[in-house]
Symmetry: C2
C-alpha cells in the first residue's frame, strides 16, 4: 500500500511550540482528521480535506483515518500535545491491531510534540527535575482501583506525579479523592501545580500547597503536577510567582 | 536586574524537532552556555559569545550563566531534549536556590523541547500510551537503593518505565541489575525498546524481548523503555520493524 498516516503532535497550541517536522506533516497531508478544536488550529490549505469529529470517538476516528490511508491518501491525524502521551497514537495502533490486516502494511508515523506536563513544568521552573510518573486520572478506560494503586505506588517511592485528565463533568470526584490519597503520605506544604491552557491566550497557572488545594481549581484543560517530598519553592521579590523545582539529587546533597 | 536567562531545549538533535520558540531564544541570545556538543548544534552568529564546558559540571555551568545574566546579558543555556527532564533546568534552579539572593530577581525562562523518551516512543509506535514513569538510572545523585525502590514501585503498579542515563563507563552494572529486577515481575516477552541517538544520523533502534535483552545493547546515548504487561507488538509484513504500543485501556476492554 502507498498510503501514509502520520499522527501529528500540535504541542500546547501556540504555533511557536510546533516543531518544523510536525508543521511539514500537516502542510503536505491530503487529509486532516481529528477533534474539531485541534483541526481548527491548523491553517487551511487549498485542496486539503478536513474531517472533524468530537472528542469521544478516538477509535472510530482512527479507523476512518486508516481507511483513508489504505485508499492511498496522505493522512495527518492531529493530536494535542504529544500524540504518544494520553492522545491519539495509542488509539491508532489499537485500531491497527484489531483491524484490517492490510493496515499493517501502511506507513504509520508519529510526529512528537511538547506534551502538557513539559509545557506546564517549563512555565514554573523545573518541577519534573527528579524522577516522575505521568498518569491519566480518568477511569473511563481503566478501573478506579488501578488508578488508585498506581497513584499510591508512585507516592510510596516519592516520584513527582503529573496527572492528565484530572477532572470533567462526567468524572467530578476523582481528583478530590486523589488529593486525599496524596495527603496520606506527602506534607501539607507539598507544592501542587495546576496549569490550565498552558501556552494559550487563556493560560492560568497556580502553585498551591497541598493543604489548600481543591479539585475545583482544575478543569478539563488543566494538568496537575504533584511535587515530591524534595520539590521546593524559590520565593521571589516583588510579588512574582515563585519558581518550583525538584533537585536532581536525592538524599545526601553531593 | 535586566538580565535574561533562558534554558533552551534542543530536542533530539535534528533542527526539524527544534521549536520556533527555542530557535528564537537561541538566535536572540548574547551568550550561549552549555556542554560542547550541544552548543555545537547551534548555528554561529556574529557577536554571540559561546561558552562551552564538559558534561560533568552542571552546577558550575549554571552559576556561570547566572553571573552573566546578572551583569545584563541575554543568556541561553543549551540543553539536550527537554531542559526539565534530566537536563539543565533543575541545575539552574538549584544554583539559584543556593546562590546570590539577587539571582531571584532575574527573569529565568525554560523553553521546552522534545525529550528523548517522546522521540524514541514516536519512532516505534506508542509504547507510552498508558501510564508511565521516567527515571534516571544514575546513582551519581541518589543512592542505588532509591533507584531500586523506585523501579520496584513502578513495576509493581504496571507502569511503563523509561530509563534515562542507563549506563556509562563509570556505571557499568546498574542497567543489568535493573533488567534482573524487571524480570522478577514482567514476563519474558515484555518488549524492551533500546533507542540510541534518536533522530540523529547514527540512530539505532532495537526492540528486544526481556528474555534476550543485555545491558551491552545500550550506551550513554541510549534511552531504554520497558513495556508494561499490556504493551504489545504489531508484527508487520516484509521484515519491517514491528510497531509497539501500550493500549489506553487496562483490564476489561471497553
Amino acid at each position: 500500500m502507498t498510503g501514509l498516516l502520520t499522527i501529528v503532535g500540535l504541542g500546547p497550541g501556540d504555533p511557536r511550540f510546533l516543531t518544523p517536522a510536525a508543521a511539514e506533516a500537516l502542510a503536505t497531508a491530503t487529509d486532516l482528521v481529528g477533534y474539531g478544536p485541534y483541526v481548527d488550529r491548523v491553517p487551511e490549505r487549498p485542496g486539503q480535506q478536513r474531517h472533524t469529529s468530537d472528542n469521544r470517538v478516538e477509535l472510530d476516528r482512527a479507523r476512518f483515518a486508516l481507511e483513508l490511508a489504505a485508499k492511498g491518501a496522505r493522512v495527518a491525524v492531529v493530536s494535542g500535545g504529544d500524540p504518544g502521551v494520553f492522545a491519539m497514537a495509542a488509539a491508532v495502533f489499537e485500531a491497527v491491531d484489531g483491524g484490517d490486516p492490510a493496515w499493517r502494511s501502511l506507513d504509520i508515523r508519529v510526529e512528537p510534540g511538547i506534551t502538557a506536563m513539559l509545557a506546564a513544568a517549563a512555565r514554573v521552573g523545573a518541577p519534573l527535575g527528579g524522577d516522575f510518573c505521568a498518569m491519566s486520572l480518568s477511569d473511563n478506560l481503566k478501573p478506579w482501583e488501578v488508578v488508585e494503586a498506581r497513584l499510591r505506588a508512585a507516592l510510596s517511592a516519592d516520584f513527582v506525579v503529573a496527572l492528565y485528565n484530572p477532572i470533567s463533568s462526567a468524572r467530578p470526584w476523582q481528583l478530590g479523592a486523589a488529593f486525599k490519597i496524596v495527603a496520606e503520605t506527602r506534607g501539607p506544604d507539598t507544592p501542587i501545580i495546576l496549569a490550565r491552557a498552558v501556552m494559550r491566550p487563556d493560560e492560568q497557572i497556580r502553585i498551591v500547597p497541598l493543604s489548600e488545594v481543591e479539585a475545583s481549581m482544575a478543569d478539563m484543560s488543566t494538568i496537575v503536577i504533584i511535587g515530591a517530598s524534595t520539590t521546593k519553592l524559590i520565593e521571589r521579590p516583588d510579588g512574582e510567582m515563585p519558581y518550583v523545582y525538584t533537585p536532581r539529587f536525592y538524599g545526601v546533597r553531593p
